[in-house]
Symmetry: C2
Amino acid sequence: MYNSHKIGALIILISITITHMQSSKKEGYFNPGVTVDVAIFTIEDNTLKILLIKRANEPFKGTPALPGGFIHKGESSLETAERILADKAGVKNVYIEQLYTFDESERDPRGQIISIAYFALVPREKLGIHEGSRTENPEFVSVENLDKLAFDHKKIIAYALKRLGDKILYTNIAYSLLPQSFTFSQLQKTYEIILGAPIDKRNFRKKFIQLDMIEETNEKLTGKRQRPAKLYRFKKKMPEKLKRFF
Amino acid sequence: MYNSHKIGALIILISITITHMQSSKKEGYFNPGVTVDVAIFTIEDNTLKILLIKRANEPFKGTPALPGGFIHKGESSLETAERILADKAGVKNVYIEQLYTFDESERDPRGQIISIAYFALVPREKLGIHEGSRTENPEFVSVENLDKLAFDHKKIIAYALKRLGDKILYTNIAYSLLPQSFTFSQLQKTYEIILGAPIDKRNFRKKFIQLDMIEETNEKLTGKRQRPAKLYRFKKKMPEKLKRFF
DNA sequence: GGTATATAGTGTACTTAGAACACTAAGTAG
DNA sequence: CTACTTAGTGTTCTAAGTACACTATATACC
């Protein structure tokens, strides 16, 4: 009777340890908790937006945060990120890459929990009209007005923005933000939004034609109060490096 | 008596779980093991070399591998990497940055163990004449002749080499491979080794002077059977981005 | 001491890419 | 049918990259 109480106490101890994501092993070794957070970007209304949820639980309950979660057993971090993309943004087969692993010790009040951060790009058209309305209420927010965020997520977003700004200059990832076909103006706007600076129209077109990344379709965008614009598409919708850019 | 056996059994179970680096939690959540591996490069005998150890334990006992280890409690992954650098290469305060987190499920036969990989650059002069001679026998090996390596370490090294080749083109990290003062020829050789291609001497000098990264010292390198070479030093020995390069 | 040898050090012409810049074209709105 | 809005197009100038060959100054060796 006394002994079985002891067992009960032990089990409680174990569950506490696990809740804290820290199972102490012999001599200093232990496993930190491992989460995945995803910075999901899209362009809407001529601004770069990122998907944020309101945290349903402590810590930071109610505070906006990147969608994320713990790695499941048998899952790679990429698979975790894709699961989060499907669950929170309702999309799959979008551009995604690992960003950085954040693990400064004070980043999570629950203890030593690392975050393998990913960043993803989604064309606006792939997203439903308005995302889920659970308590988490995921929504796309302009990266210009980010208030207080949970954990170190502001830092993660800053890092993601830097990566995005760099990569758009030497890869073709712009394809992953644009619809299947698009006008030259839309394409240029995408670059201007991400780079945060206007670009000369003629130089931009010259450069892009030289890069040979896109081709004309036979269609034009009509119905606007202006000369119809030719529609283009990317020749390849796979990530690749370019020689250089601007 | 019977009950205390039960406790014993429980404790064994726990230790097995921990040894496998997997503590199963409620519903799919669990903590993978977290290790840090470090790709430590230096230049010696006009080749790029990387530090490898022979694994002292299973799995892959006896096979060459990157120096690495589990994160200790309270340690960030960067601190782990720095500890490994000190223990295995005997250096500190060298260039180090996080590379990538490798976590494909089959990478470690012990189960789900992720590796936060770092890469470090060490000038040859900072390393002792010959490194430790424990069973691990750390030694610098030319990146040209890498045999079978433990885990996915070949992949990690390939990734590190790509990063190094990229970064030497748009940052000043070359400073972290060179001694305090050096000749223009040594500097150029460093670039040629990392890029794997010869560079025109006049263009290289022109470019480097234009970049304004280095300055003359008052010294010359004499004692060689040739015209003495001026010695230069880097103006700043801190990582910074350049506009562009070659 | 003189000669061979090895690496240090320097300048110019050509080619390519980037930057600056303004007008005409073709639709819809009213 | 006129006003308005965005689409579409070339040229000049400047900066950077590339290709290329000879002279300078030390030590090694005879």
